[in-house]
């Protein structure tokens, strides 16, 4: 911790620093892969434990008339199930476990990042891109398994003249490959921008003395807004996953 204070621990970007908590030996062929247990890993583990406690604890009784806790757990289930049903319809039901765990993981990572002194896992492109890449590869595999080579029709929309096809197909392929990129950048950029803004505004409170009441008020509003963004971004990530799934299942 003393090491951190030497390098400006109050900077707005300090909160995104990866710190190794348990050092583990490097692995890999060239001994260049660091698998140390970091604060990022810790928060992910906390998120998974929190989700398990939240859902298992809520459904422990399984009462017909739910308690408050149980009804929140049921609400989250029904919310995801409803969204999936709206977008992918009945054929999307078997992907529900994946979509649900994805939504809950991102939601809890986003919300846990709102605690002071914690760490926002989803503000790192490495994490969000890994999630997006899993979705991208999975959706592409589902598309090819369901439709075989007809899946390539996705790259040539109906009604395009044959002359334009050599231009259109690369653009469509690029557009297809931007999916994981935009998916991961959207989540990471939103989380990072919010937290940096929060820290910068909070920095003004002490610096402005008595007038610091104004940035303090603004920070209070921003915290509320950040919680909203955390939920909204998890929701958007899930919705886009559903839309991509729908594209792969219902080829048009």
């Amino acid at each position: 911790m003393s090491e951190a204070s030497n390098t400006g621990s109050h900077g707005p970007l300090h909160q995104f620093e990866i710190q190794s908590l348990i050092d583990l030996p490097l692995i890999g062929v060239n001994k260049n892969i660091d698998i140390s247990f970091t604060n990022s890993s810790l928060l992910m583990v906390v998120a998974v434990i929190a989700i398990t406690v939240f859902l298992a604890g809520g459904m422990r009784r399984g009462a017909l008339v739910p308690s408050r806790w149980q009804s929140i757990a049921e609400l989250s289930y029904e919310f995801v199930a409803g969204t999936l049903k709206d977008i992918v319809e009945a054929s999307g039901r078997k992907y529900f476990p994946f979509v649900f765990s994805l939504f809950m993981f991102i939601l809890f990572c986003n919300l846990l990042g709102m605690f002071p002194y914690s760490f926002t896992v989803t503000s790192h492109i490495a994490v969000t891109f890994a999630l997006a890449a899993v979705i991208f590869v999975g959706v592409t595999a589902i598309g090819f398994i369901k439709h075989g080579f007809r899946y390539f029709k996705l790259f040539l929309p109906a009604g395009v003249p044959v002359l334009l096809a050599p231009v259109f197909i690369p653009i469509e392929i690029f557009s297809y490959f931007t999916r994981p990129v935009s998916l991961s950048i959207r989540l990471a950029a939103n989380m990072m921008a919010g937290h940096v803004l929060l820290k910068v505004i909070a920095g003004f409170i002490v610096a402005m003395g008595i007038a610091g009441v104004l940035p303090l008020l603004f920070t209070v509003i921003l915290v509320g807004f950040e919680v909203f963004v955390a939920i909204l971004q998890a929701y958007i990530f899930m919705v886009l996953t559903c839309v991509y799934l729908n594209d792969a299942i219902h080829l048009h």
Partner: protein
């Protein structure tokens, strides 16, 4: 007695469907919060094109041919994505409706 119960049940059913409609409407409204999505879409297209082109060039030692080609395809893909997004949100006002129309 029985009749009264039935009418009560019907009343409840009406209220449930009403509440469900309200809920789904809320979800659709939120989806149209697309301003940040458009900017991200454009940026990611350009980034992907530049990244791919740069690495193909590095691999084949053909700098800067593929960088330029992929860059422009990336920009075009970004604009195409925005076009798709925009036509989706203005035409049907909800993803749900749009999907049903396409089928």
């Amino acid at each position: 007695m029985n009749n009264a119960e039935e009418s009560q049940l019907k009343e409840l059913e009406k209220r449930i469907t009403k509440a469900r409609k309200k809920n789904s409407f809320k979800i659709e409204e939120k989806q149209d919060l697309g301003l940040t999505r458009i900017s991200v879409e454009l940026v990611s297209g350009v980034l992907l094109g530049a990244f791919l082109g740069f690495h193909i060039d590095k691999w084949l030692d053909t700098s800067p041919i593929f960088f330029i080609i992929c860059f422009f395809f990336g920009v075009a893909a970004g604009i195409l994505n925005i076009y798709k997004l925009a036509s989706k949100t203005t035409e049907g006002s909800s993803v749900d409706k749009n999907i049903k129309e396409k089928k």
